[in-house]
Symmetry: C2
Subunit: 391 residues, 2 copies
């Protein structure tokens, strides 16, 4: 196990009706003038935004609003939010929504406290200062509610990039699983896929002797396999939603990713797809993951076999572990299809003729790394081959 | 799943040589004058105390010392520590040791900030204010390094009781697994048992639909079963020690205990044993757990069967789940014996003639509850029967 530090000081209030306490938590964490940041329709239609506002008013906390966050959130709205916060002297940012809204709020929070262009943070500069943020979570997926990370797409060039820094961890997160019951099945499935990807990205490590975190990752994957299809089949099943919601946070607050190298190849390769075609991140991951894993299989057959046995319940073929390893990847693929995820480029709306460009951006993009991935560093030709496996 | 809040803002620095950064973390968390609290021999002999002092000196942080913490830490030393902190105007308490030292430090930290008798907190008053504390952990066991809990024995009456409160969570914890390599096998095994007990106490719940936390608990139990015997057989195995250390913290910071009722019968019944006979807490738990589980089996056969199958790898007997459930309890018993733990009253140094008194104190003690345990509330006659199963 590698040396590490771990610090996750987010306050979680979990359960029914907890959004009514939003104002109380904003006050506890020092907010006096709030930007409420959100997407659109459902947050308003469901009455959630009104309940959140009422809770702020009950604590005499003033607020301004900025809606309009889209999936794959864009830099344009971030700049708008930064200007608004400065103008209105906002000292707390409240994200009401899913990962896109939270990530957009984080970008604004970092930008307000920084003299330069906020995009610097999405090119490798670590965020050390930011306006404090809180979240009212409406989608189990990104894990941004408990993480120090944010992903934004820059409109010039359509680069989708990540920033990180402890200052971006939400001060508090309100998690009411009932708020996710109104999600369409497709979005629910995208969220499930994203959570599973966060787990696989940590599972695929070159660090030896990480039994504890291996087991924790497997536990959360098993939870998704058990509860995911239930939430799809019974959208109103509070209990399934609750288990997915806690698993989604635990999957990405890094308590199960400490002390080990991580991969993030699938995210990197997917980000190019959702940046270019504006497909859902989870849907992209569903197509990308089996391809990446198949391509990287030979790098560590036993690791994939371990996942196959412990997570997917495959029989270990002790004479031919690779057979078991492949079985595990196919089990993942079948599971993702069974919950309604796309299985190839065509279903995703991606085009074969873009492959070279996609692979180039993944490897060279605006940060000229030349390779992508922590498990097996893949060069442009490798990434092209991975994309071809998705056809 | 029940509503809950979760907040675990401890900063963890994990890995080799991390104790050399102690001073840096004390400074980061605002300490300017420190009480170093510890037990005795090994912390001094190993040179750890000197390394910690050097790191404080490097940051120009002044300190006073209070050694002498014994296993099953006592109220006497706590009063001494409170007086010393007030006299020396200490603003940060640094525990260098295992759970006993950390718990003693927490009691002092609470007492310094309180006008009344610190023991009030051990009779149910929640700790809302305390001097900040940090820890340098030397034993994987109690989980106190990441928890808001503390257990102290009051010398008048030999009551062993717990206090809790968010103010008791350490600001930081230094976890160097190498520091645990010098532990005798018996103490290592006691720690493993304590960690497993923290997991079982959370596993035995009456809350339905807690798949995510069930799976996490199972993951950590599997880790202990895999790594525990390795640490016993190869005391210098850093990797086994590291996995146990992280599992021990995760087992008790409550991330896998949220949203569910918990049991704590075994701890309650054990506390009377270690208070009266001064046996090791882990050793007591090894004798107590199989007895409690056997006594409570009928309350929820399927829960014990689930543990048997998922944790102990037993075959599910679908025609007779109780057979599987019993097999799981017997597997736990055999495992604990295999790592060197005692199996009955005699090996623990406990006496049959004390059973009535032990059971009475467990149920009525200084807090007159009348019953103990969250899974099945046990009255005095039940507790007596449980003790008899240990003969």
């Amino acid at each position: 196990m590698d040396n590490f530090t771990f610090y996750a000081p987010t306050y979680f209030a979990f359960g029914k009706d907890t959004e009514r306490e939003t104002g109380k938590y904003v006050k506890r964490f020092g907010g006096t003038r709030v930007l409420i940041h959100y997407g659109g329709g459902s947050v308003i239609r469901s009455g959630l935004l009104d309940r959140v506002k009422e809770s702020l008013e009950a604590e005499q906390i003033g607020y301004v609003e900025l809606g309009g966050v889209k999936p794959n959130p864009r830099s344009g709205l971030v700049y708008e939010g930064i200007a608004l916060c400065r103008e209105e002297k906002v000292d707390f940012i409240l994200a009401v929504g899913g990962g896109s809204t939270i990530d957009s709020a984080k970008a604004i929070a970092a930008g307000v406290s920084y003299d330069g262009d906020f995009w610097d943070y999405y090119q490798g500069k670590v965020v050390e200062q930011a306006v404090p943020i809180g979240t009212v979570l409406t989608i189990s997926a990104a894990g941004s509610e408990g993480s120090p990370d944010s992903v934004i797409t820059k409109e010039e060039g359509m680069y989708k990039r990540a920033a990180t820094g402890e200052a971006l961890r939400p001060r508090f997160t309100i998690m009411n699983p009932a708020l996710t019951q109104t999600l369409p099945a497709y979005q629910t499935a995208c969220g499930i896929t994203d959570i599973m990807a966060h787990l696989y990205e940590r599972y695929l490590t070159n660090t030896k002797e990480v039994e504890c975190t291996d087991r924790m990752i497997e536990a959360l994957l098993l939870t998704m396999i058990h509860e995911g299809p239930r939430a799809i089949a019974e959208p109103d099943n509070y209990e399934a939603r609750a288990n997915i919601m806690w698993a989604g946070m635990m999957a990405h607050n890094n308590s199960c990713g400490v002390g080990r190298t991580q991969d993030w190849t699938s995210h990197s390769i997917e980000h190019e797809l959702s940046a270019l075609y504006d497909c859902a991140h989870g849907a992209g991951l569903a197509v990308v993951m089996p391809a990446v894993f198949t391509y990287n299989l030979q790098h560590d057959v036993m690791r994939f076999a371990q996942a196959a046995v412990r997570v997917w319940g495959c029989q270990m073929d002790f004479g031919n572990p690779q057979r078991t390893a492949v079985e595990g990847i196919e089990a993942l693929r079948s599971f993702l299809i069974s919950i309604g995820m796309p299985k190839n480029f065509a279903e995703l709306g991606a085009r074969e003729e873009d492959i070279e460009k996609l692979a180039h951006t993944a490897c060279y993009g605006d940060v000229e790394a030349g390779t992508t991935g922590g498990f097996v560093p893949l060069g442009q030709k490798d990434v092209e081959a991975v994309y071809r496996l998705m056809l």
